[in-house]
């Protein structure tokens, strides 16, 4: 019980609040704030559950991509803002920083390791969100005619 609280619940709460903080910077109002926060928390939860590897970043980005696409369909809003904010906690800021500090310290081996890992995480995020979004759009385009078949309102 305690491990669930400290290992999963608290980090996800932090990701949620950090994303809500970011919505102030990107001028997102109303329910959008909550959606961004939940997206960020969801992404971080998937990342933790999948083991905090590059593949975990891929899965987390895919989860965020799908969640944001669904939410943008529900609210009939551009998906841009939701994906943008929810992905931010996963962006490898730590990787950039550690790569820099190994580089300055002259530790070439660890510098290259960290640099490659950082590029890997960034690529995994991009490909994950891209793939989930594209798949969602393809599937949704097939579902939509069925949804829209109701008689149009005046």
């Amino acid at each position: 019980m305690e491990t669930i609280l400290y290992d999963y619940a608290l980090p996800c709460l932090c990701a949620f609040l950090a994303c809500v903080g970011f919505t102030l910077v990107f001028n997102i109002h109303g329910v959008g704030k909550l959606i961004c926060g939940v997206g960020g928390a969801l992404g971080w939860l998937v990342y933790l559950l999948a083991g905090s590897t590059i593949f975990a970043a891929f899965l987390a980005a895919a989860a965020i991509g799908t969640f944001s696409e669904v939410m943008s369909r529900v609210r009939r809003c551009p998906v841009t803002g939701y994906v943008l904010v929810a992905l931010l906690p996963l962006v490898p800021g730590g990787g950039i920083y550690y790569a820099m500090s190994y580089c300055v310290a002259g530790d070439n081996q660890r510098f290259l390791d960290t640099l490659l890992h950082t590029f890997g995480v960034a690529a995994a995020l991009a490909v994950g969100a891209m793939l989930a979004s594209s798949l969602f759009r393809t599937v949704y385009a097939h579902l939509r005619p069925a949804v829209r078949r109701k008689p149009p309102q005046a």
């Binding site: 932090c14 950090a18 903080g21 820099m100 500090s101 995020l125």
Partner: protein
């Protein structure tokens, strides 16, 4: 119909969408749909991150073209949603051009957060990022203060830092690492690394990276590559700036 006016309205809509952070395909598609709604099936739109070209042929066979340069790129989701709704509305109703112009002008006044709220955002985000990277309560408090410092630089420093985003990022990350170092020396924070990373997360090129991948996904490879280059440039600016900040800090 006054096609010059229609062209101006479409160009303005595209320009506004682009400047609040819309993807290329959204800009192109919104403008194309608007023009098609006014029965101009032959309209052509081309956009790259800082330029929009829109061209149409009037029913009399007279071609007209307009080019707009988009100067600043920000991220303003509220305005983006507003212009997106407006475009959808215009396409559905096809109102007279005067009304469309008035609606477009009115859309500029969207709610915005007060400067202190934005500043709070710059403080809160790092404060909650620090625990994600393994920091405690005291690291979070230091990240909050250092984040406020970076926020002040970003919000009010524009006049001194100029419009060069590379230089701005270098200076802001130098401020971030210097402030973190200072706060740890003062005994508030525990780990310089964690506090600095937390603060750097507000500068990290997440936006550029996300946009780049969305452009490539939509097939605008050219714009996607230019935004990828932007992301890499920002990342190196962060590395350079924080290294400089730490180096300066070591002297004291």
């Amino acid at each position: 119909m006054d096609y010059d006016k229609l062209l101006n309205i479409a160009a303005e809509l595209g320009c506004q969408l682009m400047s609040c952070g819309a993807e290329i395909y959204r800009v192109e598609e919104s403008m194309g749909r608007l023009l098609r709604a006014y029965d101009l099936a032959s309209a052509e739109v081309f956009a790259i991150p800082n330029c929009i070209i829109v061209s149409l042929t009037t029913p009399e066979g007279h071609p007209i073209t307009r080019m707009r340069r988009v100067a600043g790129h920000g991220t303003d989701i509220q305005r983006l949603e507003r212009y997106n709704d407006l475009c959808r509305d215009l396409c559905a109703r096809v109102p007279p051009l005067e009304e469309a112009q008035a609606l477009l002008g009115a859309a500029e006044e969207t709610p915005r957060y007060a400067p202190w709220q934005v500043l709070l955002g710059y403080g809160v985000a790092p404060a909650f990022f620090a625990p994600l990277f393994g920091g405690g309560v005291r690291d979070a408090a230091s990240a909050f203060i250092a984040g406020l410092g970076v926020g002040v630089c970003l919000l009010y420093g524009g006049r001194f830092l100029g419009s060069n985003s590379f230089l701005r990022t270098v200076i802001c990350s130098a401020v971030a690492s210097l402030l973190s170092l200072l706060l740890v020396r003062l005994g508030l924070g525990r780990s310089v690394d964690i506090v600095t990373i937390g603060v750097l997360m507000v500068l990290v090129p997440g936006v550029a990276l996300t946009n780049a991948m969305r452009e490539i996904m939509a097939g605008d490879v050219f714009s996607g590559l230019s935004r990828t280059a932007d992301a890499i440039l920002v990342a190196s600016a962060i590395a350079l700036g924080s290294a400089a900040g730490l180096a300066i800090g070591r002297f004291f």
